[in-house]
Subunit: 155 residues, 2 copies
DNA sequence: GACAAGTAGTTGTATATGCAACTATAATGA
DNA sequence: TCATTATAGTTGCATATACAACTACTTGTC
């Protein structure tokens, strides 16, 4: 019995695209993670959480909102927030209107750390995004990723 | 001391783009992983390895080539290949010209499993890529990701 | 109001992965 | 040739995460 490799659609244009997406993401997030860790002693996942918290004017989100935003499981998010809280970058606050829910709020230390990390991040992006893609290309990429992303949300 | 949130570059166009890349990837790979696992009982990481092996005509790669292709650490790759080998989808072969090196070769079962998985993957891509982006957009995205990716390789 | 069903978050447990130390082999060069 | 340095892969250990079961609370229905 020969291994025919059959119709072998591994060269399919969509398969290639998807593989590229995985690879690009893996390389970029790994190298950013290394830099953040080295320069700020801040894991990438923590950075993502702090960034999400800064995005909203109140500076706080519920556990499940964070879990959704960073695409983690509920249990994983609990543990992640445990660690970030222990480091003093966020605090848990009770939600008055729903006693099941918990707000996670960024602290002063968290904001300071995030500023630090954003400097590293911006340098990184300058080297790895801006150097490779011009304004127009970045805008196009943003648009395309948004299209791709919105679809996958409700699953 | 007020929490000024400082210059707050979290809305920076590049930061947004990077966040989008992380999020898109996380959502897509998670949902593909769930489908592959459900339909073929094949973890996404295994699928990635098998796909890399099929990409090359010989159907085999050295450990470090695999590690690089799928962006894993060397130790992580050893363990990953251990599991895939135990499942019978790949085999380890000695390299005659370098006795330190090990070839990992896809087996007949591995090829069969990969065909199965590719069917799922192609359906998935049809739903999640092709439905959202037309041919032109996919080509553009591919080009942009390639540019982005080539840069990050040597690190 | 009370019971059923749904939702928010946590915890036990299993697993996957990275890092650093290690072994074995190869390449370099004095 | 032998010693040094570099490389390929594996292993011990620590950690991060997912899944499923659980508790506590809320919402909907009668």
């Amino acid at each position: 019995m020969t291994i025919t490799t059959s119709a072998c659609p591994s060269g399919d244009e969509r398969v290639v695209l998807f593989g590229l997406l995985l690879e690009t993401n893996a390389r970029l997030s790994r190298s950013l993670g290394v830099e953040l860790e080295a320069a700020c002693d801040l894991p990438l996942a923590w950075f993502e959480v702090l960034l999400q918290l800064r995005k909203v004017p109140e500076g706080r989100l519920k556990m499940n909102q964070i879990a959704d935003a960073i695409v983690h499981s509920s249990g994983g998010t609990t543990r992640l927030i445990d660690r970030i809280e222990e480091a003093g970058y966020v605090t848990r606050e009770h939600c008055p209107s729903d006693r099941r829910a918990i707000y996670v709020a960024i602290s002063a230390n968290g904001n300071q750390k995030l500023d630090e990390a954003l400097n590293v991040h911006l340098d990184y992006l300058e080297d790895n995004l801006a150097k490779r893609l011009d304004d127009q290309e970045r805008r196009t990429l943003t648009t395309l990723l948004k299209k791709l992303n919105s679809s996958a949300k409700p699953s």
